[in-house]
Structure formats: structure tokens, C-alpha cells
Symmetry: C3
Subunit: 154 residues, 3 copies
């Protein structure tokens, strides 16, 4: 039986949700770029203070911390702390042949949790809201690897 | 022959060790949360200074760097620099059909190295101890991808 | 049909490029170590100021930010924002059975983009050069997951 294959509906759920989550990570990088360009601030490399197409009016203050730009970097870091773990956990989860409905609930649930976390973080909602969605995503990944360990070891 | 499948003992070793390492990454996030709550410090977002269930006595000093909390974030960063690479390297390693004993030595060795690194970092051991376990984990991943390249290209 | 398998030429392209990219991530860690040792600076943990084999002349200034060392950490962070996403996107891409030439162009293109990005970053080239290679790598990953979504959903 080949589970890691298009044709296995659980793998298809994984492929769709993993692709969306990869897209989320990549677009977060572009959000940082957009915010750097829009605010003309939040640069991190001394050589970026050179005059050029991207930086038309360089000044040393551009290397100072900008919450507007750094927020996108913090969101990115939070993605990196959660999404690669989901990508691996999801693949392992497919390999232990779970029920389709369970895979759908967990994987689409993770996508929902991370998009809601993004929205709460970007709009500076209070800690409790952001933490709720972080917790949801985190518990889903923890459940998935627990399920994998249980399946393989029992 | 389908190697990426429960039933292949090498894949099972990978599934167990990868699941443990994903769990390690996720729990590091919760260690940061625990340390923020316990010390009431080490916050990184201005909006977290609002009064709420999580933050009952907000004050601006909570945004200052706290080594206690930041240590957990540095440990997390070190995880992110090593564990996703292991997760990918391990899957590729399974795909080139290595000897079971070799997969066991390398994969359980990596888990051991990272848990020992965690313990040394959390308890602030001298650099030499932390560096030893970092090196062990890093060399295992480097060996695995070298083995993969050799198998595929030769 | 088992696509995630040595013997499928597209999977072999993935295995080679993914292994190279894992190696890139791991070696970036060693570049940071090398730069810390060479410059005797850029440490991040208070306990590393203890006298020992690695640190023979400790002084508090070693904990200050060093652009020489931090540059390698920033390069590492940029890797983590791109390479794990590529590793997952590439595997999903293999699973939707793309044309071999397309996989070769995209995957070797990504490796080229990241090595060129590394060279531009390490030698402090102007923003425009670094940004060009970042963009190339980013668009390749975004294309791959778009292709996966299109294949699975259509």
C-alpha cells in the first residue's frame, strides 16, 4: 500500500494544506519586503544604506528597529517555529493511515489557526487572541506526532 | 519497492525519531510561554502590555530583554537551525535504503544529541559541553545528506 | 505508481537538490562558529564568557553585537525562511508528477539562486543583487506550490 501518493485522499488533504502553509511562509517574506519599502525603514544590513534603485534616500536611521517592519519578521519567526513542524508531522501522519475526517479536521484546522494567528498578529490584537490561535495550531501538531508515535510503537 | 512506508523498519525508525524531534520543537515554544508567564517578563510585542487574563500587571519593563526568557528563544532558534534539516535529511536517507543499524545509530544518535544539547543549554553549562552535542547532531545530518548524494550520484 | 522513490528521475533531482540545500543550512551554522572563533566576538550566551578551551581570553565585550558574526546568523535566518519551504514544496512537487525538465529547471534553479544569494550576502553586495537572487528562489518555491495546488484541485 502506497499512502504517500496522490490518489490517497488523506495525502491529497496533506498536499493541499502543506502547499498553503508553504505559500504562507513565502508570502510573509514578501510582507517584510513590502513594509521595508513602504516605510523606508527596518533595514538590517549596513550595505543596504547605499544609494540604489531600492533605496533612493539612504540615511543611518534606516538601520534602527522599526516595529512596523520587525512585526512582520516576528510573524515570520513564529511561522518558522510552527509550520516546518506541521509539514513533517503531517507527512508522518499520512503514513500511519488515519481516518480521512480526522486528517481533514486537523490539517484544515491548522491552516485556519495559522491564518487567524496571522490576522491577529498583523492587526495587533491583544495577547489572548493571538495566544488562542497559537495554542490551537500547536496542539494540532502535538496531537499528530503523538498519534504517529502511538501507531508506530503499539 | 516502497521504502517510505510503515512496514519498512528504517522508515519506522525515521517516523519515531522525526516525531520526537517535532515534539521537541513544539515544546520549546511552550517553554518560552512558561518562562514569560513565570517571570512576567520577556515580552516582544507592544500590544502585550495591555491588561488582560495573561498580563495582570503590565509595565513597560516587560518589553526589555530577559535572559531567562530569551534563552528559551535562543534554544528554539538553535532547534530551527538543526531539526528541520534533520527531518528532510532523514526522509531522503530512508529513500536510499540504508542498513537498519546505521539508521538506528544516526537517528537515535541525533535525538540523543539534541536532548543533551537542550539540557546543557537550559542549565547554562560551559560552551564546550553545548558545542560537543551541537557538533554531534550537526555531523549526523551532514553525514546523512552526504550518504544520500553518494547513493544517488554513484 | 510510486513517485517518491529512487528510480523516478524527478525524485532523484529532488533528492540531489534537497541534500545540497540541507548541507547549505548545516554549513551556515559552521560559518557562524568559524567567525565567532576567528574574531573572538559575537557570542550570545553569558556562560560563554567562562575561560575554557574555546574561549581563552574572555571579556564582556564578546557579548556585543558583531556585524561579522551576526551577518552569518542573518544569512542563516534567511536560509530558514526559504530552504525548509523548498524542501517541503519540492517533495509535494515530485508527488504531482511534473515533467523532468521542469523539475530540473526549478530545483537546480533554486540551488543556484540560494548559492548566489549566499555569495552576495557574504561579500556585502548592494541590496539589488541580493534581492534579485532572493526573488528568484522565492518565486520558484511559490510556483512549485501553486503547481501542486493546481494539480490536486483541478
Amino acid at each position: 500500500m502506497n499512502l504517500l501518493n496522490i490518489g490517497n485522499p488523506v495525502f491529497e488533504v496533506y498536499a493541499i494544506t502543506a502547499a498553503i502553509m508553504v505559500l504562507k511562509v513565502m508570502l510573509q517574506g514578501w510582507m517584510t519586503v513590502y513594509r521595508m519599502l513602504k516605510s523606508n525603514a527596518g533595514l538590517v544590513n549596513p550595505e543596504d544604506l547605499q544609494l540604489g534603485l531600492i533605496n533612493k534616500e539612504p540615511h543611518p536611521g534606516q538601520l534602527e528597529l522599526s516595529d512596523y517592519v520587525d512585526r512582520s519578521r516576528r510573524m515570520h519567526r513564529n511561522d518558522l517555529e510552527n509550520i516546518p513542524a506541521f509539514l513533517a508531522a503531517g507527512l508522518l501522519f499520512v503514513a500511519v493511515n488515519p481516518a480521512l475526517w480526522l486528517a481533514q479536521v486537523l490539517m484544515y484546522g491548522f491552516v485556519f489557526a495559522r491564518i487567524a494567528h496571522f490576522a491577529a498578529y498583523a492587526t495587533q490584537q491583544i495577547h489572548e487572541i493571538r495566544a488562542t490561535f497559537y495554542t490551537l495550531g500547536s496542539l494540532i501538531v502535538i496531537y499528530m506526532v503523538g498519534h504517529v508515535l502511538w501507531s508506530v510503537l503499539s
